[in-house]
């Protein structure tokens, strides 16, 4: 089992409010998040000695270009180009750097812009395999690949669109309470069923709305959190896995399944003890696959779990409590931080909308990077409410 993440504090979740379209580049969005972090923690810019960034629209730059842009001089620098899996991967790495003394204060940020040009750029240059063997096949974008995953899931497990739509309905109900959500209207199962087809069986209300935005947090030591007077969240366990089940035609198991036992053992907890679950929701069926992969329900049976579990803010297992990307929008790679900052807010009892009563422990999951025909990167963490200074 990996070493525990003891002594490490996650503090100051920030979100630069999303906008549907932006003429500002990604560096503007990430820079606003950096400033928000410094202000929230009461730090000077020179205190930041670690920096981890994630973005899809920063090309040709990476975190290297950003530190010169912002005048940072870190002694620890990360570039985590893994989109939906990036948030948990960032805190894992930053936590180890803080434990080892390689950095004291690590700013972890994901951000992207969104306009016609940036969106086309992501689609056309996402990966070599995609440019070569996916995009030319009709140019359906991620919807095409996810539609084929969704159909395979439905046919393998006898799940229907209704079964999947219930999750979207509950999530949009959560989103209606979030002042930062771009889509604040609630939807009914009829709305979901009657939405127009995009790449069948994916219909409009399965899809996230692309937008611009940034999310971030700081990783520091618990001692530092106390001296700064900041309440913190701690990492009870964390996993990541990439290219799971390589060479296999199966695409219904996310990589989390390989490491579920390790995660729960390290966290000393079970799925039933979680006060909430934040999955990576670029299509509700992908959230259902994640629930199965970490053992919240049996493999192939998320339809029963979703039908029998109230996943709204007052339910048995509140899920994607900010409304997730389905309600907030998908700010590019920042989608990989959305569940993480929401988990922190609920554990810090600093919610954007309603507070989950008594939340002390929760799970956050990441999934992403359709390099060819499935998401290659999986990550997850169990987080708990730390202390207050």
């Amino acid at each position: 089992m990996p070493q525990p993440y003891e002594g490490v504090a996650l503090v100051c979740p920030v979100t630069v409010p999303y906008e549907k379209r932006s003429d500002k580049p990604a560096a503007w969005w990430i820079g606003r998040a950096l400033k928000a972090l410094i202000d929230a923690a009461g730090l000077e810019k020179t205190d930041i000695d670690g920096f981890a960034a994630t973005s899809f629209t920063l090309s040709p730059d990476t975190s290297v270009g950003l530190i010169e842009h912002y005048g940072l001089t870190p002694r620890y620098l990360e570039w985590i180009p893994t989109g939906g899996a990036s948030g948990v991967m960032a805190i894992k790495r930053a936590a180890r750097a803080v434990q080892a003394g390689d950095a004291d204060i690590v700013a972890c940020i994901a951000g992207d812009t969104n306009n016609a040009e940036s969106f086309q750029g992501i689609l056309e240059n996402f990966s070599r395999f995609s440019t070569q063997a996916v995009l030319p096949y009709g140019g359906l974008g991620p919807n095409g690949v996810f539609a084929m995953i969704m159909r395979q899931y439905m046919e393998a497990f006898g799940a229907t669109r209704d079964d999947i739509g219930r999750l979207a309905v509950m999530q949009r109900a959560n989103g209606a309470t979030n002042p930062l959500a771009l889509l604040t209207s609630q939807i009914t199962l009829d709305d979901y069923m009657n939405a127009r087809p995009i790449a069948e069986p994916v219909h409009l209300l399965d899809c996230v709305m692309p937008c611009a935005g940034a999310d971030g947090l700081l990783v520091i030591s618990i001692d530092r959190a106390k001296s700064l007077g900041l309440p913190w969240v701690q990492i009870d366990g964390a996993i990541e896995r990439h290219n799971a089940y390589a060479g296999s035609e199966q695409i219904l198991k996310t990589g989390h399944m390989m490491d579920a036992g390790s995660l729960w053992e390290q966290a000393g907890a079970a799925p039933s003890e979680m006060d909430f679950l934040q999955t990576y929701d670029d299509y509700p069926v992908i959230s259902m696959m994640q629930m199965e992969a970490l053992g919240f329900c049996p493999f192939g049976d998320a339809k029963t779990f979703v039908a029998q579990t109230d996943m709204t803010l007052t339910g048995m297992l509140p899920h994607n409590t900010s409304g997730g990307q389905l309600a907030m929008g998908q700010a590019g790679a920042a989608g990989g931080y959305l569940g993480l900052v929401e988990a922190m807010r609920q554990l810090l009892h600093q919610p954007l909308g309603p507070q989950i009563a008594g939340a002390t422990k929760g799970c956050v999951m990441g999934y992403g990077m359709v390099n060819y025909d499935r998401g290659l990167c999986s990550s997850a963490a169990v987080l708990s409410r730390g202390g207050t200074p």
């Binding site: 063997a133 140019g139 919807n143 084929m148 159909r151 395979q152 790449a199 060819y372």
Partner: protein, 102 residues
């Protein structure tokens, strides 16, 4: 009917998408060979929106995910309606794999 795809000359693994080294044994010794063009549909979608100008007026179109008898998984455009488990024949037409029911 055969299809020309990369095959590892050391371990025999079929490569798709094209690689620089074998995805199984990492050998750089890859060559184009004629392989079986037959496969089975694993999943499919009917797409209504394309980001490519060439396809804008060709929707809805059917995209299929096919397991080749030789082992690799390919995405292909379908000619005519296809369902999961259908047996298909693949052909390279103007640089694109096209699947037809057998």
């Amino acid at each position: 009917m055969s299809l020309t795809l990369q095959v590892c000359q050391d371990c025999g693994a079929l490569q798709y998408p094209r690689r620089d080294v074998c995805g199984q044994c990492l050998s750089p010794n890859l060559k184009n060979e004629n392989v079986s063009a037959q496969g089975t549909v694993l999943s499919w979608t009917q797409g209504h929106f394309s980001v490519l100008p060439a396809f804008k007026d060709k929707t809805p179109l059917t995209l299929v995910r096919v397991k080749l008898d030789g082992g690799a998984v390919v995405l292909a455009l379908a000619k005519g309606p296809l369902a999961t488990h259908a047996r298909v024949l693949l052909a390279m037409t103007e640089g694109l794999l096209i699947a037809v029911a057998t």
